[in-house]
């Protein structure tokens, strides 16, 4: 039977090749999309873990405001005050407000790029500096909410921003929420750091929060994106989370895991699209092999009827069809899995180059085996459909047609 199945497949080389390619593409899509999904979760988890923070306070999702400076609005109001109140607790080591906002950045006052501005402390053990130094002073400009303290005019940028603007440590950058503000606010590049760029996956300039608020005109409401909290050793994260949630019911307090989940939930459309693509890939694989099988059976329906008339059993003919599709599924699955390995490496290279995120596509042995098993399942479904067609066809009527 194996010999007959192979002979049939070799006889229809083009169809066989197309079916194998179809299954391979389906498996490749499934493996890659699943790997991306898992990779994003793993990378996100890693980033949250690396941040050295235990809890995150947010005011809600960032809202798009095309008419406002920065293009979107951070929803955590009075971020410095709330962070200071939280930091008073005995079980909290630090509570740091942060904000992300789009800003204009230029090396002169005539040409500007739109980049992400991070209002965050570019200093301390959780920030890695690859060149120059981090911030040496605390955020003094806030000055108890008066915003009249001295501005440091220091900025830490990431490697891609440095390449994009062709600047290095000690060079000057002009930064602001509008072109007019940007041309008036001069900052000195004091260091190169990948930390916040990796966090958002885009070229980033990092300023003290109050200085970012100053140049983007958000000092009135002291808006931030979130407050990150590091607990004292031995503190119970769940208990602190519960206390804070009661104290600040307008805000949401999450653990690292919950914050990651919330971030992913915000991307529900993207996740649904990915899941739909996986489903479509499986359906396309099934339809391709099923089409091959059904057209094979339909074209040879009289021959199959003749073989049944000669005494060949339905079981034997079904076994022949199953062997054929298993060969297609096996070869297609192996090809898809084989292509997924270099494919993953290539996509990871591209993602690192574009966003700075590493290992976004996380390929595992389990995913590869899963892809191969799906290819075999697709084969079985196709063979079952073709066998059903054969079973329902009357031998006599087919012979007489």
């Amino acid at each position: 039977m194996v010999g007959i199945a192979i002979a049939q497949l070799r006889h229809e080389r083009l169809r066989t090749a197309l079916a194998i390619l179809g299954v391979a593409m389906a498996v490749l899509s499934i493996v890659m999309l699943t790997s991306v999904g898992i990779g994003v979760v793993e990378t996100g988890q890693q980033k949250f873990d690396q941040s050295g923070r235990d809890l995150w306070v947010t005011g809600g999702p960032l809202e798009l405001r095309p008419g406002t400076v920065g293009g979107f609005e951070n929803t955590l109001i009075d971020s410095h005050t709330v962070a200071a109140e939280i930091a008073q607790r005995d079980d909290v080591a630090t509570a740091v407000p942060m904000a992300f906002q789009t800003v204009y950045v230029g090396k002169n006052t005539t040409e500007f790029e739109t980049l992400i501005g991070a209002g965050a402390p570019a200093q301390g053990p959780s920030v890695s500096i690859s060149e120059g130094r981090g911030f040496q002073t605390r955020d003094r400009h806030y000055a108890e909410g008066t915003y009249d303290g001295p501005m440091s005019h220091e900025v830490v940028i990431d490697q891609r921003t440095a390449r994009l603007l062709n600047v290095s440590v000690n060079d000057t950058l002009y930064i602001g929420g509008t072109l007019a503000t940007a041309s008036r606010n001069e900052f000195t590049v004091v260091g190169i750091s990948p930390t916040y760029s990796r966090f958002v996956g885009a070229p980033t300039v990092t300023l003290h929060l109050s200085e970012l608020q100053e140049v983007t005109g958000t000092t009135a409401s002291d808006r931030g994106t979130f407050i990150s909290i590091r607990l004292q050793d031995g503190a119970n994260a769940t208990a602190v989370q519960s206390d804070l949630q009661q104290a600040y019911p307008a805000y949401t307090v999450r653990t690292n895991q919950e914050q990651l989940r919330a971030t992913l939930e915000d991307k529900v459309v993207v996740i649904a699209s990915g899941a739909s693509l996986v489903l479509l890939a499986v359906v396309a694989g099934i339809l391709l092999t099923m089409n091959l099988q059904l057209s094979f059976v339909y074209q040879r329906r009289q021959t199959f009827a003749a073989l049944q008339a000669l005494g060949l059993s339905q079981t034997s003919l079904s076994a022949l069809l199953l062997l054929k599709t298993l060969l297609i599924g096996g070869v297609g699955g192996a090809l898809g899995v084989g292509l997924a390995i270099p494919g993953t490496m290539a996509v990871n290279e591209i993602v690192v180059a574009v966003t700075g995120f590493e290992n976004v596509v996380s390929l595992s042995q389990r995913i590869l085996i899963g892809g191969f098993v799906i290819a075999l399942c697709v084969s079985v479904v196709s063979a079952a459909a073709a066998s059903l067609y054969l079973t329902r066809a009357s031998t006599l009527e087919t012979l007489q047609s």
Binding site: M1, G3, I4, A7, Q8, R10, H11, E12, R300, Q302, T303, A305, A306, L307, Q308, A309, L310, G311, L312, S313, Q314, S316, T395, L396, L399, Q400
Partner: protein, 246 residues
């Protein structure tokens, strides 16, 4: 063309390879309507036909289109069961058998030659001939030897590895005859075996079928007088009934 000099076998059992008594076959035309209480009309394709075929005998079935030739042939081959009457194939009554059991019985006792050959185009002549032996669980070497010896017997020893597409119509029909004989059946049923062939190829195929009948019973349905001429006797059908026996 061979002339029949053989007489029906009087060997051991003398049981006919196939025996039908009062064979009747009705078909339902269409189906009764969903809102209609009337029964769907039935058509009687075969009406109380009795016949027996013994080993060594070549029996022709003649008649115009719609006379019941194919219906009788399908019953004799065990492809269908009669509405009334009994049919014994190699001594086995087929009426109580399930579809699977009838398929098994056909595999063991009947070889069928079709008008359109029905060979698998991806397989060589040898593989096509050996196919029924796969179902019988015969080993690869034995299958190969048996198929090659039959292809030699039908004059295709030079064509064993050729695929159907590389063979002429006459050669394909000879492969189909070898396939019908590969399980050493008691009965060979041929439906218009020369219908798709030129007269020279048809003659050669008929010679082969006549030669086969030394061991088996052969029944062939045909419009072709040349084919009917090689038969020991011919049963002519008209409107599902035997019109004449020659």
């Amino acid at each position: 063309m061979s002339q029949r000099t053989q007489t029906p076998s009087t060997s051991a059992s003398a049981t006919p390879v196939v025996q039908g008594r009062g064979l009747t076959r009705d078909y339902t035309r269409g189906s009764s309507g969903f809102f209609s209480s009337s029964q769907a009309p039935t058509v009687r394709a075969l009406d109380s036909v009795s016949m027996a075929i013994e080993r060594g005998e070549v029996v022709g079935i003649a008649g115009p289109s719609g006379s019941g030739k194919s219906t009788l042939l399908h019953l004799l081959a065990g492809l269908d069961v009669p509405t009334a009457g009994t049919l014994e194939l190699d001594g086995t009554d087929i009426e109580p058998l399930s579809g699977r059991q009838r398929a098994r019985l056909r595999l063991e006792t009947v070889g069928i030659v079709f008008q359109r050959f029905h060979l698998l185009d991806a397989l060589s002549a040898r593989a096509n001939v050996a196919l029924p032996l796969v179902e019988r669980g015969v080993g690869k070497r034995t299958r190969r030897e048996r198929a090659e010896s039959l292809l030699e017997a039908v004059g295709l020893e030079e064509r064993v590895t050729h695929k159907p597409g590389q063979l002429s119509g006459g050669e394909q029909q000879r492969v189909a005859i070898a396939r019908a004989l590969v399980t050493d059946p008691s009965l060979v049923v041929a439906d218009e075996p020369t219908g798709e062939l030129d007269s020279e190829s048809g003659e050669r195929v008929l010679d082969l079928l006549v030669d086969v009948a030394d061991e088996q019973g052969v029944v062939l349905a045909s419009h072709d007088q040349q084919a009917l001429d090689v038969c020991d006797r011919v049963i002519s059908l008209r409107d599902g009934q035997v019109a004449r026996r020659q």
